[in-house]
């Protein structure tokens, strides 16, 4: 297999995680697909600058987050307004139905500042180390740690998580207990 075929196979393999990162970073599936497409094109055009044997996923994630941030800077004001709207919606959202958990989480994630969201996604979901995440975001490891920490604190606040159990878990436990007659 030549280098280019191996590179293409690597891109194919990276597609699900690239797309998951793009969706959770941008919050919109349509925009995420544009981001993934641009990332693939750019990766292809710059394939010569990728060193075989190094982490292809980290290289691709770097391209994607740079594309996201250059686009984000252009439409910063608009996004901030949207963030405000999300926050407002969340604050009146008292219902904690179990089946809405993922939806609530998505909204809470979207309300985080992009740099915190990105750090949390890289370290907490995409499986990168703090060092790799720092390289992807072109910042210090301490900055990543701080952003992840602040992201978690903020999510806990928004989702009203303040102990080992949450309201929906309590509700589930109660209904199970009631059904089983314990």
């Amino acid at each position: 297999m030549n280098d280019r075929a191996e590179f293409t196979a690597g891109l194919m393999k990276a597609l699900p995680s690239l797309r998951a990162f793009a969706i959770s970073l941008s919050g919109r599936a349509e925009r995420a697909d544009d981001l993934v497409q641009d990332t693939l094109m750019r990766a292809w055009a710059n394939a010569d600058s990728f060193q075989p044997g190094t982490n292809l996923n980290a290289w691709l994630f770097t391209i994607l987050r740079n594309l996201f941030h250059s686009e984000y800077r252009k439409r910063r004001r608009e996004v901030q307004d949207e963030d405000g709207a999300y926050a407002a919606r969340l604050s009146v959202q008292a219902s904690q139905d179990a089946h809405l958990d993922v939806q609530d989480f998505r909204l809470a994630l979207e309300s985080l500042p992009p740099d915190q969201r990105e750090a949390l996604l890289l370290v907490g979901a995409s499986g990168f180390s703090y060092e790799e995440a720092a390289e992807i975001c072109q910042c210090a490891v301490g900055t990543i740690k701080s952003r992840v920490n602040r992201a978690r604190t903020k999510l806990a606040e928004i989702l009203s998580i303040d102990g080992p159990e949450d309201l929906s878990a309590d509700a589930r436990t109660r209904s199970v207990t009631a059904q089983s007659g314990i």
Binding site: L11, Q37, W44, V102, G163
Partner: protein, 64 residues
């Protein structure tokens, strides 16, 4: 001023109050179940088609 503030915050990282372990674990679980759903979504055909097209183009150019 904002930049200075951020820098100070980073430098004070060691002193920052670490988030409760239970809370951290629960957020981790929620984050992963959210992310797993995305990872398991079918990949749009157009990405695979794009890569196939790019590779074909490369092969043709290489031959000529």
């Amino acid at each position: 001023m904002i930049r200075k503030h951020v820098k100070a915050e980073v430098e004070n990282l060691e002193e920052e109050i670490q988030i409760d372990e239970h809370i951290q674990r629960r957020i981790g679980t929620k984050l992963r179940s959210f992310y797993d759903e995305l990872l398991n979504e079918p990949i749009p055909e157009k990405f695979v088609e794009l890569l196939v097209k790019l590779e074909e183009k490369e092969r043709k150019e290489g031959q000529s």
